[in-house]
């Protein structure tokens, strides 16, 4: 008799745990390499989000497991990392990465495994075209390029632009192309385009060639490691023209590499302004500062929002089944995050605002905010 009750209760216990859905998330970010500050911030934001989730919804929190992998800022290691997460750890959702080239290299494996990828920060439009399981919780480069072009034309009044792009980065090439289209459409002229290779440190020859064409603004749509040096070298050469960039600039290392004199007076578009007066943003900035002893950049805010979007979709789906999760993520509407409200559109991209920041000697300050409908850049505070 006792044996029967014992057996029955074990079976009941087992089925109880089997029916509670659990979500395994594999987080792939650049912990080392040229985009390491992006990875560090993304993971910090994610950690803060999970702690906040633990406080606000402990039941949901307990069903989510996160496994982290380093993609070393290059597409080959990203592909290896994602294969390990899918085949060995059997994750349901891959969360990451930042550089579009690296995220693109992960999409094939994810689609083949029939799983889902959510990138919080890759902005090249090609990423979400790779399959119906690929989502992003940030804006895309056609929007970002137009934002920068319109900012240059209308806010700065510049008509002649030169471009210095990173020819190994899909993000850089894409952003340059979209900027060029929007800039020309608005009546501007691209006087010169040069390229560099990420990892190289000397850009004087490219800068010399650009200087000869006399631009009044230069688009440098690359990552902070090279952009910092480009700013430093341009300043040393006496080539003092304002530079424009995208969210690849958003790192504290930019100011250290360029030096206070060279880095000030330029502009970049990104997802989040740390001096935004919105109380939710201010709370996020304060908490992040207290916990990590550094000011948060866009990647921290995107990492924070991204994992919470995944958790929210999982809660609505109620299961870790891929089809249900895809539907739940795709129907995310008006999800309030610190980097703005996330609404998924038909191409599985998020419609979000962009901000343009102006660089000072050691940080950046708010210059303009642009709504996703595109169009004119307006100053609002």
């Amino acid at each position: 008799m006792i044996k029967k009750i014992f057996a029955a209760s074990i079976i009941l216990g087992m089925s109880a745990t089997a029916s509670a859905a659990a979500l395994k998330v594999g987080a792939v970010f650049p912990i080392s390499g040229g985009q390491s500050t992006f990875g560090e911030e993304s993971l910090n934001g994610m950690a803060m989000a999970l702690d906040d989730l633990k406080a606000s919804d402990p039941a949901l929190f307990n069903t989510i497991t996160v496994i982290k992998e380093d993609e070393k800022s290059n597409p080959v290691d990203a592909a290896t990392a994602v294969k390990k997460l899918l085949n060995v750890d059997k994750v349901d959702v891959v969360f990451g990465s930042v550089a579009s080239s690296n995220t693109l290299s992960m999409t094939t494996a994810v689609m083949e495994a029939g799983k889902i990828l959510v990138t919080p920060a890759s902005t090249n439009p090609e990423v979400t075209k790779k399959g119906d399981g690929i989502f992003r919780t940030c804006f895309i480069d056609p929007f970002q390029g137009a934002v920068l072009a319109n900012f240059a034309l209308q806010n700065l009044g510049k008509k002649k632009a030169a471009i210095l792009l990173d020819h190994k980065s899909d993000y850089s090439k894409g952003l340059a192309q979209f900027f060029e289209e929007a800039f020309k459409k608005g009546g501007g002229e691209i006087v010169a385009t040069e390229a560099y290779e990420a990892g190289k440190k000397d850009f004087k020859t490219q800068l010399t060639k650009l200087r000869g064409k006399k631009p009044d603004v230069i688009l440098v749509p690359g990552y902070y490691g090279e952009v910092g040096l480009i700013m430093k070298q341009a300043h040393q050469m006496g080539f003092k023209v304002p530079m424009l960039g995208g969210d690849g600039w958003d790192s504290p290392t930019l100011y250290q590499l360029a030096g206070a004199d060279a880095v000030a007076g330029h502009y970049f578009s990104t997802h989040f302004a740390p001096d935004d007066k919105d109380p939710a943003v201010q709370k996020f900035v304060k908490d992040y500062q207290a916990r990590f002893k550094a000011a948060p950049g866009a990647m921290a805010a995107l990492g924070y929002d991204g994992i919470l979007v995944i958790a929210d979709a999982f809660k609505r789906a109620g299961t870790n089944d891929a089809a249900a999760l895809k539907k739940a993520i795709a129907s995310t509407t008006g999800f309030k995050g610190v980097s703005g409200a996330v609404t998924m559109n038909a191409s599985r991209d998020a419609e979000k605002e962009a901000v343009v920041l102006k660089t000072l000697g050691d940080r950046a300050e708010f210059a303009a905010k642009i709504a996703p409908a595109g169009g004119n850049a307006k100053k609002s505070h």
Binding site: I31, S32, G33, G34, S36, T37, H167, E194, A195, Y196, E197, G199, K200, K201, D202, K204, T205, Q206, T208, K209, G212, G225, G228, L229, H235, Q236, M237, G238, T253, Q256, L257, G259, D261
Partner: protein, 305 residues
């Protein structure tokens, strides 16, 4: 009259040339390390780029830990640091394999290279950092409004320092006893041993000198650009090609090869396209190996069987 157009072209060419010579002098210093080690023990030390990186970090740590330290002191510290690591590497990784087939020590060199890169990552962090000292800002301007050539102070100082170090090396190699011993050992290691040269010491000394030059370049790189644990990989590769171009084993060859590589890199970026800047290094290597494998100043040696 449009002769200002002609002047602008000349100015642009001179600018590329100056950029190339400045960068090339650094490549020359690094190439010297490759060429000397090859001349003595016929080893391509793939870890040489990492000696550059170690020198840069030693210099950086010295300047950050001991505030108020003047740059020359940090430079010397970097050179000593890189030199010591090289001597230790030779003792531990290369010497035990000296009498084995060449392939073993070559593989060991690759292993040391990866080891040092990852050691650097562990100790110093993987992200790029700014070097604690910078060159004085400013430049000299020559020419007129539309055809100006700028020479930055950093480029002048780099060139001057590299030339000075090359001169010091030349004196050591040609005018001192140890230099004679080095030349003897690279000519015929067994004969040198028979003549009483302490061959082990000479080999260690060669490693030390080559690496200390690379360490000095590491500091220069840091001051001009930034430092990170993988910073030695690309300059190391380019300097290796420079040593091959100039004639591997030939000291004047390494100097010429280095300067040429810097100039070629910048002219290609200037006149063809900056996207080819990375590829041109290897195009040069292939051409040299296909056309004149001994390099510009190298000599064909027949091996008596």
């Amino acid at each position: 009259m449009c002769d200002w157009g002609w002047r602008t072209l000349v100015a642009e060419f001179l600018q590329f040339l100056i950029n190339g010579i400045s960068v090339g002098s650094m490549y020359a210093l690094i190439a010297l390390g490759y060429t000397m080690v090859y001349g003595i023990i016929q080893l391509i030390n793939f870890a040489h780029g990492e000696f550059l990186m170690m020198g840069a970090f030693v210099g950086s740590v010295v300047m950050s830990k001991f505030t108020g330290v003047p740059l020359p002191v940090a430079l010397v510290a970097a050179m000593i640091g890189a030199g010591s690591i090289a001597v230790f590497t030779e003792l531990v990784a290369y010497r035990p394999l000296r009498n084995q087939a060449r392939i073993y020590v070559l593989t060991a060199a690759i292993a040391v290279s990866v080891l040092l890169q990852n050691l650097g990552r562990l100790v110093f962090g993987a992200a790029a950092q700014a070097f604690p000292a910078q060159f004085p800002q400013g430049n000299l301007e020559f020419g007129t409004e539309d055809s100006t050539v700028w020479v930055e102070y950093s480029q002048l100082i780099t060139l001057a320092l590299c030339v000075a170090l090359m001169g010091a090396l030349w004196i050591v190699v040609n005018k001192t006893k140890i230099g004679t011993a080095m030349r003897a050992t690279s000519q015929d290691i067994d004969a040198a041993r028979l003549m009483g040269v302490n061959v082990n010491f000479v080999i260690s000394f060669t490693f030390m000198i080559g690496a200390s030059l690379a360490g000095a370049v590491g500091v220069l790189y840091g001051m001009q650009y930034s430092i990170d644990p993988l910073m030695g990989v690309q300059p190391g590769l380019i300097a290796f090609v420079a040593a091959v171009l100039g004639g591997i084993g030939s000291i004047p060859g390494a100097m010429i090869g280095g300067l040429l590589m810097g100039i070629i890199e910048n002219l290609v970026a200037g006149y063809l396209s900056s996207t080819y800047q990375g590829a041109i290094t290897f195009v040069v290597l292939i051409i040299v190996l296909a056309v004149k494998p001994t390099g510009l100043l190298g000599k064909m040696t027949t091996v008596k069987v």
